[in-house]
Symmetry: C3
Subunit: 219 residues, 3 copies
C-alpha cells in the first residue's frame, strides 16, 4: 500500500479537516439557495464526500469508505450545524475558508491518486482520479443545487489544474519509487500553493481559440 503516506492517526486527522471545510462550502451554498437544515446537511455531505465516493465506485473499492468510516460521515453534519447557526460568521471568514479549501484540495488530490494507484490503475487514470477526488464533490454540490458547476466556468480561478499538478507529482514519485511522507506532503503543498496563487492573481485557463472568429475577443 503506497497510499499510507501518513500514520493512520495523522491521515484521519488531516482527512477530517479537509472534509469539514469542503462540507462548509456545501453548506454555505445551501444557505445561499435558501435551503432548510436538511438541504444544508445533504449539500455538506455531497460536497465533502462526493469526490471520494466517485473514486471508490470507479476503482471498485466498495463499500465506499465514505460510508464505512463513521468520522468521515459525521464530520459534514457538524459542518452543517456550524453553517446553520453561524453562517454569517462563516461567510465573513471567507478568506480563511478558501485557504482551508485549498488545503483540502492539495490533500485529497494526493491521497486520491495514491489510492487509485494502489487499486492497480495506471499513471494517467490515477492522476485523473486524484483530481476527481479533490474536485468532484464540488461538481455534485453544484448539480444538486441546480447551478452551473463552478469548476467548469471560465470566469473562476483555476481549481482543478493545481490538483492535477499535485496528482502528477505523486504519479512521478510512485514511478520513481520515491513516494514518501515528505514527498507526498510536498506534492500536496504544491497544489495548495498553486491554488492560493491562482486566487491571489486571478489565474484563469484559456478559452477556445477563434471564438467569434477572433482570438482576442473577450465578452
Amino acid at each position: 500500500m503506497t497510499s499510507q503516506l501518513f500514520s493512520p492517526d495523522v491521515q484521519q486527522t488531516l482527512d477530517l479537516i479537509g472534509i469539514f471545510v469542503f462540507a462548509l462550502s456545501g453548506g454555505l451554498l445551501a444557505v445561499r439557495k435558501n435551503m432548510d437544515i436538511f438541504g444544508i446537511c445533504v449539500l455538506a455531505e455531497a460536497t465533502a464526500l462526493g469526490g471520494g465516493v466517485m473514486r471508490d465506485l470507479v476503482i471498485g473499492a466498495t463499500p465506499v469508505v465514505a460510508f464505512t468510516n463513521l468520522g468521515y460521515f459525521v464530520t459534514p453534519l457538524l459542518a452543517a450545524l456550524v453553517v446553520f447557526f453561524l453562517h454569517p460568521e462563516v461567510e465573513r471568514i471567507n478568506r480563511a475558508v478558501q485557504t482551508l479549501d485549498a488545503f483540502g484540495l492539495g490533500l485529497f488530490c494526493v491521497t486520491g491518486t495514491a489510492k487509485a494507484h494502489d487499486y492497480g490503475l495506471g499513471a494517467v487514470s490515477s492522476m485523473a482520479l486524484g483530481m476527481l477526488t479533490a474536485a468532484g464533490g464540488g461538481v455534485i454540490r453544484d448539480v444538486l443545487a441546480h447551478e452551473m458547476p463552478a469548476l467548469l466556468r471560465w470566469d473562476r480561478e483555476i481549481y482543478a489544474v493545481p490538483a492535477l499538478v499535485g496528482s502528477a507529482m505523486v504519479v512521478v514519485l510512485i514511478g520513481a519509487g520515491q513516494l514518501t511522507t515528505a514527498s507526498g506532503t510536498a506534492s500536496a503543498l504544491t497544489a495548495f500553493v498553486l491554488r492560493m496563487l491562482a486566487l491571489k492573481y486571478g489565474w484563469r485557463a484559456p478559452r477556445a481559440w477563434h471564438r467569434n472568429g477572433s482570438r482576442t475577443s473577450e465578452e
Copy 2:
C-alpha cells in the same frame, strides 16, 4: 440476512407497488416538462429505481438488483404507459398518488436500511442509505428534468425526515435483535404516517438562523 423481513412473494409485491407509484411521479413530471414517451419512460425508471441503484453501488451489490429483477425493471414502463395515456386522470387522483408515494417512502427506507446493514455497514451509514433508497430517485428525477431537486427546497413538506425516522427505528431494532416482520412493518408505518401528517399540516424544516441578520425574517 436480516433484510428478509417478509416472505419473498410479499416483499416482491410490496416492492412493485412502491416502484409503480414512484414511477408515476417521474412520468408525471416528464409530462409537465413536455417530454415524449421516451422521456416519460426514462424519468419513470430513474425515479423508481434510482435510489436503489445508488444504494447498491455504494454497498457494492452488483449487478444492481434493479437490473437483475425483471419485475423491478418492467414495472416503471407500465407506469409510464399509464401516464402516457391517462395523465389527466392520474393528476386528478393526486391525493391517492401522494398517499401511495408515502407508502413507498416507508417501505423503501426500511428495506434499504436493512439491506445496507446486511452488507456490513454501520448504524449511521445504514440509516443514510435507507433514506437514500427512499428519496434518492426523486433527486435523480429532478436533476434529469433540469429542476431544482424538490427534496432540497425549503418550501416543500418534509420528505426525507420521515424516512430517516423509519430508518432509525430499523437500526435500533437490529441493534436490539428485534427486527421482525411486525417491527419492520411498524417502522415503515411510522415513516408513512409522519409523511402523511407532514402533508396534512404543512410541516417544513427550519432554514438557517440569522438569514439577513434576523431569525424572524421570512421571505
Copy 3:
C-alpha cells in the same frame, strides 16, 4: 465471452473512433457554453466515456474500462484539443460529425448490450444497458453543462430509439446463438441507419395523449 465481436485490434480502433466523435460533441457544447480548455476536456471525457462508466458500475465491472484502457482515456483529450483550436471548422462539418455520432451510437449499443449479457444480465436489462452505453454520456454532458438533457427533449430527432432497436437485435441474436461479427455489424448498422433517417426526416417520438385536454394540440 460473446462480447468479442471483432478482433481486439478492430474493436479498439472502432471504439476509439466512436469515443473521439462523442468527445467532439462534448467539447463543442463546452465551447458554446463559453467554458475554458479544462471544461472542454471534462465535457469531452464525460460525453465519450460516461455511458460506458455507468454500464460498468451497474454490472460491477470495476475498475471501469474507461480508466484502465489508456487509449479510451486519452482519445477525448485529443478531441478536446481539436475543438479548442479548430472549433469553427468542426462546427462547419456538423453533418459529418452527426454521421460519425450515429456510427458511435450503433457501435456502442451493440457492444454495450453484449458486455452486459456477458456479465449475466437478462435480455431486457442488457438492452437497457446497451442503450445507456450509447446515450448515457450525452445526458451526463448536458447535466454538467446545466442544460436540459437533449435526449429527453421532445423536439429533437429520436436518438435512443435507434439504439434500442440495435440492442434488441443483439439480444435476439444472442438468444438464437447467432451473434457473430456479421450479425453484430448488421445490428450496429441498423441503429446507424435509423438514426440517420430520423435526422433526415425529422422523426420524433409522440408526447402524452390529452395534453391540455386535446390530443391534437401542438404548442
